[in-house]
Symmetry: D2
Subunit: 286 residues, 4 copies
């Protein structure tokens, strides 16, 4: 592997981890706008020198409230300030960059890449998300996961990885999906499968329900079926998949768990971003 | 579930199994052109009565050498003879039906469905294919699979299922793929991953190599790297993924294993076709 | 299953869970000296009526500081008071009852059984202990367990179950043991094995070390080898298996985790005691 | 590891494999009475030179019909001839050596060790035995193991390993045992458990039954309960655990599979003997 000149600018603990991880791999790394993290690796005093960077890493999300997202810094930077200081041809990797930002960068002759849009990052993030879910379940449930019955709603990336992790702990796992091919996949994993349309009437047997789809599957009638003590963990991004008001009225405990990779395993989350950046570098031929 | 009137016409042992399996589910079943199977369930003497069928199941492949594929029958039937005897609106399910046959059927007002083109059948078939592969490996290798090192080429349906099955037996599994997202998937399964482009130089460590992609990955230079006694199982459809001539010269044992579901587990293979037909019936609203 | 008359006397949350669980199975259950638990099932006002019990369940440990162990009660009871109120032939099940107490009971014509001495309880308790360990590891480590390297010291009941659980989450597990047959077992589980005598020089590669043997394996030299951030969880009963003073000086994080079943999964822990009591009842022919 | 002077005398393909395997580890190896194997490594013309051996390996069983067990040789040797040619202090490792032979050797000042009596060999052999069982099941059953229901009789070494292997392939496994602690173990593996006494009335649901205990559990009444097509594999040494006559009358297919390690995986079987011999050498301080 070649070694490159990286600048890691703004963001939270994941950016610190990422910078450290890049240095361990032998790259030259500068950090900026991370000074409140206590221990930012190779902090730069200002943006002078960033013009020599081959790759600049912006946070996830890159921009927040019109400015660069810098929760660990006193500095108020705009994305334009950073982009404007770069040499044409520099690779800029950021998370959830909007079209305006992408266009600004391209107009400056920069190569813009959104690592959060990459499939391999989404796949890899399913592992820390699944483990974060299991940690919550272990903390909340008074029974062991071993021997418990769990229902996973959705057979996508997260449903797939979580099903495997729960099975690895001896959970009896059922997965709900719509498509026949997803139901066939679920059977190959050794789980029970159920069509999303056929859930009602069977929801009372589970100790744990994990939702991964941003559709209101756990509405009031569904929630009324759950047995006492059943824990619901909603992993779907807004608006989630649970009627939270009904759950509260019915006394169903629901935990809406978002952004688990950064919380449950920040070092792993940083490494996943790093690997994705390496893939982008390879593809860009840098 | 409703009960239907099925005719199962032509084909091999899988059709016999399928017919038996449909009867066990309570359907009315007639079989035709399966008389040499010894024990065809409810054999019909001729096609009279087939006009009342709600669903007719043709074999896989449906047509061979210009005639209906009837290896277990003395009868020489054309597909037209069967289709012509059906009532408009009848569902015809067959395997690998070509466009001409599909058009003929539609012109007669029939609903034509190719079960072999269904994703759920392909997914489900990966399980018997994987088991058939393991059976071959057990029969051929003088070492246990437990503790052996295996390389799977390809991370598609079969690569995925086979990786899981081999791991379940304690094999140390590496999977080769091209796409970053596939490599990320492989890591989530707990396997080692390797880029297809980086195989050379590492091929000498495996006891077993299973190829699932119809690309010539195991060419002469690759085969020369294998250690003595390494077994190669090629699961890719023609032209396969191995330079068979080179393998023979180099003394590498290669087994080209095709159509494993019907051979390794005919009853399961028949059930998979049955389930797929049920899905088609549901979607067609029959 | 027959139904019996149980009295559950003293103890903590596990006794409450146990009583509830016995009632769900249809038995007659009275509880005493559990009033501070808020919700003791069928609380008795005094010991009158206990003479009709067929089985009396004492806590774990049964006696503490010379009195019955009643942390959830204002009452100060001696074991003699309870035993003296029972009819001859009554089965008394308690945890860690000393020889004096056993002899007292037998002298009164009671059948005395220590459920904590039963092998099946020790085996079953390994599951909640293992899950409690995993929960701690997830809470403490900034990396995912998936892909992490863990070392388990000891291949007994807990080592065995924990190895399986960690592997189920994708951890790369090594287990250390002394006996050749244990090392052979470890290989059958698909883990790496290492002789306890050969640990030194290899300890620097682990992210997590779980000790299950009450022998000082993790002494100062061993602890000095660990890599930064390695987490040590000591599961061995007193005196543990870690030089805690040295660990503190060396900055190694050690968590000494005892009595995990009752903490991590009190309901499961209660059910395990219940099942063990059923076994005793069966064997006693009650 | 030090290197030693080995003589491998008599026996079948496992001895050939063992000799090859010892040579690969760098030891000096001589073979004798294996000439019909086609390719015995370093064949000796006669026993001259065996006096310098540090370790002599006899076959399994060592003696058959009053002579050394030499199925791959024209030579008719007695054990006395071999033992008499050795120097005092030489280690003699053999399989199933009877007390007479052990005493003869000791009288000559030899160190006698029976590797077949070692626990670690029995544990390690469970892996090839389990795989051999799975191979038979795959060859015989017309359904996939995935999704099939299997019953294992006995929770000893083989029952334990086979349960794990079958589960790894997606089999729904029930294990029958007598002791409460074994039943608790079975639950920790994630299998269903059943008491051996409670088998009757439930035997009709299995596709596969594997017996590991040399007790007549599968008597005529038990066999009459099996469903059509259920396969029975008896892995228990003589007299086995099946009423073979009744099975034949009832049309139940039973395969009595003995000595599977040498048949299913001779190279692995040879390595297991080799490892056991190394353990003996270590313990003997040679």
């Amino acid at each position: 592997m070649d070694t490159w000149n990286f600048w890691v600018v703004g963001g939270d603990a994941r950016q610190v981890t990422l910078a450290r991880s890049l240095r361990e791999d032998g790259h030259t790394v500068h950090t900026y706008a991370l000074e409140r993290s206590g221990d930012p690796p190779c902090p730069a005093n200002d943006l002078s020198g960033i013009g020599e960077a081959q790759c600049v890493v912006l946070p996830l999300p890159a921009v927040k409230g019109g400015r660069l997202n810098t929760p660990l810094s006193e500095l108020a930077l705009t994305a334009e300030q950073v982009l404007g200081a770069l040499s044409p041809g520099t690779l800029v990797c950021g998370g959830r960059m909007d079209e305006t930002l992408m266009a600004q960068g391209r107009a400056l002759g920069l190569r813009m890449a959104d690592y959060y849009a990459r499939e391999e990052l989404a796949v890899a993030n399913a592992v820390p998300t699944g483990e974060g879910t299991i940690q919550i379940a272990m903390e909340e449930l008074p029974v062991t996961l071993h021997g418990a019955k769990a229902l996973i709603l959705g057979a996508g990336r997260l449903g797939k990885v979580l099903a495997q992790q729960l099975q690895g702990l001896g959970v009896k796992v059922t997965v709900a999906a719509r498509k026949w091919s997803d139901l066939a996949w679920i059977e190959t994993w050794g789980c029970e499968s159920v069509r999303s349309d056929d859930l009602h009437g069977h929801l009372g047997e589970y100790d744990l329900i994990c939702n991964t789809v941003p559709t209101l599957l756990l509405d009031r009638p569904a929630l009324s079926e759950l047995k006492g003590g059943c824990l619901v963990i909603d992993l779907a991004s807004a608006p989630g998949g649970v009627d939270f008001a009904a759950a509260q009225e019915l006394g169903v405990k629901v935990i809406w768990a978002l952004a688990l990779p950064g919380k449950a395993a920040p070092v792993t989350a940083g490494r996943i971003v790093r690997d994705t950046i390496y893939h982008i570098l390879t593809e860009e031929g840098i």
